[in-house]
Symmetry: C2
Subunit: 340 residues, 2 copies
Amino acid sequence: MARAEPARAVTLSDVARLAGVSVATASKALNGRDQVKDSTRQRVVEAADQLSFSPNPLARGLLAGRTGTVGLLTSDLEGRFVIPILMGAEDAFGAGQVNVFLCDARGDTIREQYHLRALLSRRVDGLIVVGRQTDPRPSLGHDIPVPVVYAYAPSDDPADLSITPDNVSAGRLAVEHLVACGRTRIAHITGEHAYAAARDRAEGVQAALHAAGLELVGDVMYSEWSERWGRDAAAVLLTRHPEIDAVLCGSDQISRGALDTARDLGRTVPDDVAVMGFDNWEVLTTNARPELTSIDANLQQLGRTAAQRVFAALDGVDIGSGTEYVAGRLVIRGSTVARR
Amino acid sequence: MARAEPARAVTLSDVARLAGVSVATASKALNGRDQVKDSTRQRVVEAADQLSFSPNPLARGLLAGRTGTVGLLTSDLEGRFVIPILMGAEDAFGAGQVNVFLCDARGDTIREQYHLRALLSRRVDGLIVVGRQTDPRPSLGHDIPVPVVYAYAPSDDPADLSITPDNVSAGRLAVEHLVACGRTRIAHITGEHAYAAARDRAEGVQAALHAAGLELVGDVMYSEWSERWGRDAAAVLLTRHPEIDAVLCGSDQISRGALDTARDLGRTVPDDVAVMGFDNWEVLTTNARPELTSIDANLQQLGRTAAQRVFAALDGVDIGSGTEYVAGRLVIRGSTVARR
DNA sequence: AAACTCACCGAAAAGGTTTTCTGAACATAG
DNA sequence: CTATGTTCAGAAAACCTTTTCGGTGAGTTT
């Protein structure tokens, strides 16, 4: 049977009875308060061990007003950016004594409100709101009785605390790498212009090119975040501007498409033309021919940071407000640097 | 500030006071018990609305012995099979009044035990254990005071209830599709032999071929679950057995590799040779040239089913034991059927 | 010996809700 | 007018833990 016996849980009074003390004393003994003789404390601890007692967090939370739980409100579990953040946060909390309530609003505001209510009524001690894009999202407001940290998608209210990837510097990082590899005729294919991630990276790209005294070959090519677009855009670019020696792509998916096109056109990577992307999605990057250089957004770190901010707020620290940026990191593979 | 005012939560006695009744009456009124006059009930409901009262689930759970929470214990959040299951489960629970504690053991038994303890001490009402492979995993045992359902990875103890994809029938489904498309010289490239998923699918493949009076071209090629392996294996197969008219791959990743090789060798897909995979991982399938036919394992459905079983157990239904199989579904795209 | 300090323990309240049981008001039947 | 029943409201207990405060006994001081 998958269902075991109800077996009433062992309570503190069971422990107290076994140890021959009152519940008050038992509580104090187990919680390390003073006012308990050492020998008594030991008797209680032994009794608790013997019964494998674990205090009921409901009763404890009812009294303390703290539950040792936080809510993780995501707008889109499907999106692959949310998962690493979630892992980082879960990791950071799990190390403490905090457990995580997961709620997926599926991008629906109604559902988000519903979950928010549920979480608050469960008296979570804090809240992390994870969005699927780096575009600002509506704030949950300020009548929330617990600390809130926005991750990935920042809040549109500067009075909130948000933690988001630094896409501008990521774009810069990418160009600096290409320039360091000796590339000077660089083109940029990226995703939807509606995405701040695309625009921010492009901004960083332009800035770094400018700083290096270079100019982008052609315009920034915005369209969709897909391999297909990568193929099509690269085909246009490479035929119209055969002098291109590097294609910087807004995502690894686009990179994969560009790589395919380069191969179709008989261009060799990386000797003839370098290709690199963003996100460092390993399934795509490490299986490409050649493997893809990419900028990793350090999302797991971002999740951990968000969790730490919530922790700090729980300890009464003022965690401030505004947007905090997490830098990306360059992961070099064969698509920009020939294997030695 | 990210931290708002504590603003003591409104309690039932606030509502009762406003409505001019006792807490007992207020409770009964709000919970739809009888023994309350309609006019009184209405007064209470209005008062509750006005104060936007929501009952404290801690207090409620303390009394009822139920917390309205379940634990979701995963061994690997990173793996992409876990996420859809998690979504399905979260979805099913969220519709009820149940919230989900998420714990990621990262494939570590110690951490799993730790999280299990934490969840039990939080008095979760039920537990779903999600593994990353379809190979049986060690049972958590039977001294767990709440219902447990194993998802994806079944328990190695037949006394537990497990829900897992039906990979044998998925393999059969795939071959039946290829045969229906008129393919007769079919090869099978798949992932690690150590994975039950690979072996089960291969078993289904062989069974369906036999039923159709066909034989596999070459042996089942086991190795790793990667594009690279798909490329290499397809190269070997297609040169050694040029008569092959369909390559059935153990995953979409392998399919992508096979597809690349077919293109490199100048074979046209699907006219000359059909390619199909398993998992229906849309990022890979819909961006391939041509788009990839695949078998979807219905993982979200699997998650929902697991949640429903836990629900049933909570309602006192005996949910039985053993392993329940979830069928896959065929998703036809251009890699097996020429676009009209 | 009385007054005092000190170390330790336990009774009781608190936290918010649900449920059971008692009791009051009122209506109906005899 | 009494007996019986019905309907509804409230008091109190229960759930489990923590904390405050009062109390007991032993030891110490005057």
